[in-house]
Amino acid sequence: MTRFSAMSLLKNALTGQKGWGEQWPDSQPRAEYDVVIVGAGGHGLGAAYYLAKEHGITNVAVIDKGWLGGGNTGRNTTIIRSNYLYDESARLYDHAVDLWEGLSQELNYNVMFSRRGVMMLAHNVHDIHSFQRHIHANRLNGVDNAWLTPGEAKVFCPPLNISPKARYPVLGAALQMRAGTARHDAVAWGYARAAAARGVDIIQNCPVTAIRRGADGAVEGVETARGFIRAKKVAVSAAGHTSVLMDSAGIRMPLESYPLQALVSEPVKPCFPCVVMSNTVHAYISQSDKGELVIGSGTDQYTSYSQRGGLPLIEHTLAAICEVFPIFNRMRMLRKWGGIVDVTPDRSPILGKLPVKGLYVNCGWGTGGFKATPGAGHLLAWTVAKDAPHPINAPFTLERFTTGRLIDEAAAAAVAH
């Protein structure tokens, strides 16, 4: 692997860019691995990287049905934040943000983590209560999150409409300065390149059709389109497709997969300095390095794997954007696309061991998986290597749905009275 440096860039400039080799080889599956990770998104590739780097486990394959980074990793709006309410969630996401901050250097790959600040808008008294509760909890958890008056919010984000006459006036905002965005593809590519450099096999276009268990019930490996691959441990990090796979291992999951849409505008000169989220009107927006406004929409009401969302949702999303930012009315939507998000009943992820020996899962991230990428990979690697959860992901078990110990951020935030 050619290390990226000023020197290597200059050398290649003078030699017609001939010196760059493959960032990762397109590996063929071997008969057996210590660990097989299903799903070559940021989470799965990250797990492979940390397995190799921090646990010395390099006989690892990451297998994907398509091209790496082609799932939700490459289809999200790249928002990164950690100002969650509950201690469990705050620790989980803050762990990820810690890793984001050094990730470019760690991977020698510029993932363009941009600390632009994420501002969440309050539009009614209930929002204010909810945000205050978040801010106080975050403060005592050591997570930065501050309250802004409408005027302060306007200063931080000039395009914002703070007219009290608005249908949903901005009554204030919660701002996490440490939060921001990153270049989603680069995260997958950076992890792939770094993992491959440490001997991990990355196997693309190889659908895993089933998980095979032995007579003793323990995992034996995975059935794939290119035949059976033996593995001591199997970690499934396949987002919306987890249910189908787990079913083959005899485990039924509390998951549902919904279509989620996002869109970008035509590129324009810098006009939007931060990330703004409004859960009340469903508007999520930032501006990419390229100049496009990146806008998150909602999920359609029905479960689906079609990656083909409907028009009404986009209409509502852009109405919401124009409500909060009226100057964008004449901007144009350039491209919209759909992803498949896997949602648990409490909208928190499941990350840990399963009741099957050698089987691990990382799923249920809903619409919020990208921000957790380094953390999820790091914790999944730990859990697989030690066959025990890290304290940070210990609460995010499958069992919580039996005992009732749910981690329900949405319920805590979104009950209107």
Binding site: F4, A6, L9, L10, A13, Q17, W20, E22, Q23, W67, D87, R91, N110, V111, F113, S114, R115, H126, H129, S130, H136, R139, L140, R167, D185, W189, G190, S265, E266, V268, K269, P270, V281, G291, R308, H316, L318, A319, I321, C322, E323, P326, I327, F328, N329, R330, R332, M333, L334, R335, K336, T402, T403, G404, A411, A412, A414, V415, A416, H417
Partner: protein, 997 residues
């Protein structure tokens, strides 16, 4: 008249000059021009700068696929718009246009230094650098990268224009009004279908507008076009110009965006600027034609280099010559016809370079007759000229090897790399695309939608074939809908058929690393970048696209995708289909946010519900707060009062005498039928069997997960009839939940649910004098304490209005809620205000209501509960019918974690300093001196200043709170930490003596 406009030629109105300005300079065009055709007519090719290298660029197309000629347009305040395609924007009087992405000017742009650094910039450049030193990314690199990126500037003022939307239903929607679309629409309309025909251009006709020489059904193309459009109108076909089919959604729903006024000099008042159409069509014919491909060679992006078909369009549609001395380079027959037409119009064709060794003899013959030099088996390896092409370098090619070339002077270079079927909408259906080896392009395969691709979109070429195919598509649509249809494939004379070859970058003798052979013009992606990306392991076309950004510009790869694919496939040594094709994504062309937002702007963004008493509150200076979709009176400030003062006054007045409150927004559901009581027993936690008619009870509703969902007072009006009230925000949810259980779990129960929320207007009277105010107005009911005790309900008349009267209290005072038919709500309110005047009756809002109930420790679902709270947690265990075998949520209450110790329980909280009001949402700890992260044991759910008690009060959810009454906890706030004592939740009149009045 400019030297590039041919008098009398084209479809523009030569008698109607139109003035406009570009970069501050004034120009004249003609009615019917686009900005691009008008500028070309004035000899202006330089229209923009590219994204990365800021290279000078001119229009390369004459359509919506234009990647280069993007301009900013404006027509007064708030009406600026970036990235408009000069090739689509029709000229209008006074149009102000500006070029983009340049500084200080379009002719001299400092950003062009990037172009010198071309050898340094490579695919994925950004991922490989700007990492050292780490801190520089935020402060230096990223801001610089961002400032250089982007095309036009964003609008800076709110948009005053209107946008509209409509639903439209059709038997057949035809997208594209070229020959295929026209023939399809005609055949289907003749068979009696409801047909809609749309086209993105200002007028219909498609390719016919650029080929007037073709003869169809014995008529010259333009005559046939006019006659056909007349017939379609006569057959009732809906014809929509300037209307782009932006996306193809489930089950033949197609989104259309109609540009209504942008082409008008002065739009009529109230006319929408654009209109979104949501079309549902039984059948769809996609007749979107094909898009010409550029050729990839060094300097293929200079102003003056354009697609041959575009030059032909500028000539015939606009009467504009794109140059006086043209060179042509082509891999397809079609460019010959462009060359011929230009030659016939007086343009000198300096050379016609054909990449093929053996072009069709017939074409060579026609070229010879026009004295055009054709160089077959040749390549173009370079161009010169800074802001406009000056010459082209032409080389002989033998077995892929390039021989020494010669430079040929020209002022424009027309290129054609063949044609790509336009299958974007077809791909939106998830339809499969199949690689056609012969045509070297993708053609439509299977789709799940009832749709049919016709004409050039299917790879057909030549008007005869295309018209016949369109006609057949129309017939097929008709018969699919059970209508007999007779085909009538139009006969064509002077047809222009042809074929070509598909290429990678042209053979060159230039070092690949230096060649600026552009694949994606706007994003400045060259063949070199694509080959490098593949070498770096980007083996899927999706990776190549994302790594190089080819195909991600505002033309969405319409020009670049296939060229990029051919080059990637060649580098990989694979066949193109093995490398794949990036998915086309909606919209077909960029669509304004405004059009998609439609009517949902300002007050119409989302509806605001108002009660019958709302106008009175507004008259009397109420401040409102939004609650769910409603707006509710929050408090009624008197002159000089702030919120706290107003609320304090309202509270004291109510406790001292009487207050009146608009409770109309509370949800109301009539539960009626022989099994009503059984239904109530199953839904709510409480027992209902023994509740006598005429009595009411507080009802608690759980989700099946055991957590509190809603609550409200419920009255039994008769054995079989309950009047259920819900929270304001819960009304719809609760009714849906009830219907769900009733219809799907207990269909055997004979009970029906009807929402009466809006039928009743509700005034709540509270305070020791409430009865005194009400009694004189009541007819047909004795409301004395004994005859009508607390928690009663009865029908009667109040102020002459038929009413449903409740005696209940959410304030701890003697209270009544008077329900009257909504139309009488305002009258009732005024009558009560009048009757209450002697008692200084005080109207109060939601805030005072919240304070009064908090003084009594009554919860508000959604504030003191948050979807994770059980009845026991909230101290409402008493509301559970212990003897009942089952009710919704009962089972969940015995799950391990619901009965485990350490649950957060609702308690009262009194700060040690009376005047300290805790913040709602403040977190609670046992040890204030611990380091971060702190162990939090709960949070404040409600907190108020209580005028009644002369101190602050609060409610909180605290771990094991019920067993910690009397203990002190700490609330660390920025700056200081407050001490507070845990108490019961009833702060005022705990034994409810005041209710017994």
């Amino acid at each position: 008249m400019s030297r590039y406009r041919i008098p009398g030629k084209g479809r523009v109105d030569h008698a109607a000059p139109v003035r406009f300005s570009f970069d501050g300079r004034s120009y004249t065009g003609l009615r019917g021009d686009t900005v691009a055709s008008a500028l070309l007519a004035n000899g202006v090719h330089l229209m923009g700068r590219s994204f990365k290298y800021h290279r000078p660029r001119g229009a390369v197309t004459a359509g919506s696929e234009e990647p280069n000629a993007l301009i900013g347009t404006s027509r007064g305040k708030g009406r600026f718009e970036p990235n408009t395609r000069a090739t689509m924007q029709e000229l209008r009087a006074g149009l102000v246009a500006e070029s983009q992405n340049k500084w200080p000017g379009l002719g001299f742009d400092l950003g062009a230094v990037n172009d010198l650094a071309y050898p340094l910039f490579s695919a994925g450049f950004y991922y490989k650098t700007f990492m050292w030193p780490r801190a520089f990314w935020d402060r230096v690199y990223e801001p610089v990268i961002r400032a250089a990126a982007g095309l036009g500037r964003a609008p800076s003022e709110p948009d005053p224009d209107r946008y509209a939307s409509r639903y439209l239903h059709a038997d057949l929607l035809v997208v594209g009004a070229g020959p295929a679309g026209l023939a399809a629409a005609r055949a289907a309309a003749r068979a009696g279908l409801r047909v809609t025909l749309v086209d993105e251009h200002a007028e219909m006709g498609g390719a016919l507008l650029s080929d007037p020489g073709v003869v169809i059904e014995g008529r010259p193309a333009w005559d046939w076009l006019a006659a056909t459009l007349d017939e379609l109108r006569a057959l009732g076909v809906r014809l929509m110009c300037r209307t782009t089919a932006i996306g193809y959604y489930h089950q033949n729903m197609i989104g259309l965006c109609e540009r209504v006024t942008d082409h008008l000099d002065s739009p009529p008042e109230n006319a929408p600027r654009e209109r979104l159409w949501r079309v549902r069509a039984a059948r769809v014919v996609l007749a979107q034609g094909a898009i010409e491909k550029p050729l990839v060679f060094d300097g293929n992006d200079r102003p003056g280099v354009m697609l041959a078909g575009a030059a032909q369009t500028y000539l015939h549609r606009f009467g504009v010559l794109v140059g006086r001395r043209a060179a042509v380079v082509t891999a397809h027959d079609s460019a010959y016809f462009a060359a011929f037409d230009l030659a016939d119009a007086g343009v000198r064709i300096a050379v016609l370079v054909d990449t093929r060794d053996a072009p069709p003899a017939a074409l060579l013959d026609q070229a010879r007759r026009r004295g055009i030099e054709v160089l077959a088996g040749h390549s173009v390896t370079a161009t010169t000229g800074r802001l406009r092409i000056r010459s082209v370098r032409v080389n002989r090619v033998r077995d892929g090897q390039v021989a020494g070339g010669r430079a040929i002077a020209c002022d424009c270079l027309l290129m054609s790399g063949g044609w790509t079927p336009s299958l974007h909408l077809f791909s939106h259906t998830k339809g499969s695309l199949i690689w056609d080896e012969a045509a070297q392009t993708y053609l439509p395969g299977e789709t799940i939608e009832d749709c049919h691709v016709a004409g050039a979109g299917k790879g057909l070429w030549g008007y005869g074939a295309v018209l016949a195919d369109g006609d057949a598509a129309g017939v097929a649509a008709a018969s699919a809908l059970g209508r007999a249809a007779a085909g009538a494939a139009p006969a064509v004379a002077h047809d222009r058929t042809g074929s070509g070859e598909a290429l990678r970058e042209l053979p060159s003798d230039l070092a690949p690393s230096l060649a600026r052979a552009f694949v994606d013009f706007q994003n400045d992606v060259t063949a070199k970048d694509i080959r490098l990306a593949v070498r770096e392991g980007m083996k899927s076309i999706e990776h190549v696209k994302r790594y190089t950004t080819t195909g991600m510009a505002t033309d969405q790869g319409k020009l670049s995708n296939i060229n990029g694919l051919m080059i990637a496939a060649d580098t990989l040594g694979k066949a193109p289909p093995q490398v794949g094709l990036t998915t086309f994504r909606p919209p077909y062309t960029p669509t304004t946010f405004g059009a998609l937002a439609g009517y949902h702007r300002g007050s119409h963004f989302e509806l605001t519900r108002k009660t019958p008493i709302d106008p009175w509150a507004e008259e009397h200076g109420a401040v409102f707060e939004p609650v769910a979709q409603w707006r509710r009176a929050w408090y009624f400030p008197r002159p000089g009062e702030d919120m706290e003062a107003a609320v304090a006054r309202e509270c004291l007045a109510t406790r001292a005498s009487v207050g009146i409150f608009d409770a109309s927004t509370l949800g109301k559901i009539e539960v009626a039928g022989p099994d009503a009581v059984e239904f109530m027993n199953r839904m709510y936690t409480n027992p209902w069997t023994k509740l006598a008619p005429g009595r009411t009870r507080y009802g608690l509703l759980l989700g099946e997960d055991g957590f509190i969902r809603d609550d409200g007072v419920i009255g039994r009006l008769a054995d079989d009839l309950f009047h259920v009230t819900t929270t304001t925000g819960g009304a719809a949810r609760v009714l849906t939940m009830m219907e769900d259980y009733l219809q799907t779990e207990w269909p055997d129960l004979r009970v029906w649910l009807t929402s009466t929320t809006e039928h009743w207007a509700v005034a709540a009277l509270n305070g020791p004098n409430a009865r005194k105010v009400l009694e004189p107005l009541v007819e047909g009911l004795d409301i004395s304490a004994d005859a009508f005790p607390h928690m009663s309900v009865a029908e009667c008349r109040v102020a002459g209005i038929p009413a449903r009267l409740f005696r209940l209290s959410f304030t701890g005072e003697l209270g009544f809620e008077i329900n009257v038919p909504a139309r009488h709500g305002a009258d009732l309110w005024r009558a009560l205000m009048a009757a209450g005047a002697p008692f200084d009756i005080c109207p109060y809002g939601t805030e005072t209501m919240h304070v009064l109930r908090a003084e009594k420790g009554f919860i508000i679902v959604g504030q003191d509960t948050d979807g994770t709270v059980t009845p026991e947690d909230a101290g409402l265990g008493w509301a559970i019918g212990k003897a009942k075998p089952d009710f919704v949520g009962k089972r969940s209450l015995s799950r391990p974690d619901m009965v485990a110790p350490g649950r957060k329980q609702l308690v009262g909280l009194l700060t040690e300093e009376d005047d300290v009001r805790l913040e709602e949402g403040a977190q609670i700890v046992d040890d204030p001196d611990q380091p971060l992260p702190m162990r939090m044991v709960g949070h404040v759910t409600s907190s108020y200043r209580s005028a009644t008690l002369g101190r602050s009060i609060a409610m909180a959810l605290i771990e094991n709170g019920h067993s910690r009454i009397g203990e002190v906890v700490h609330v660390p706030m920025p700056g200081r930490t407050h001490r507070a004592r845990i108490t019961g939740t009833a702060f005022y009149d705990p034994d409810g003596a005041r209710l017994k009045l």
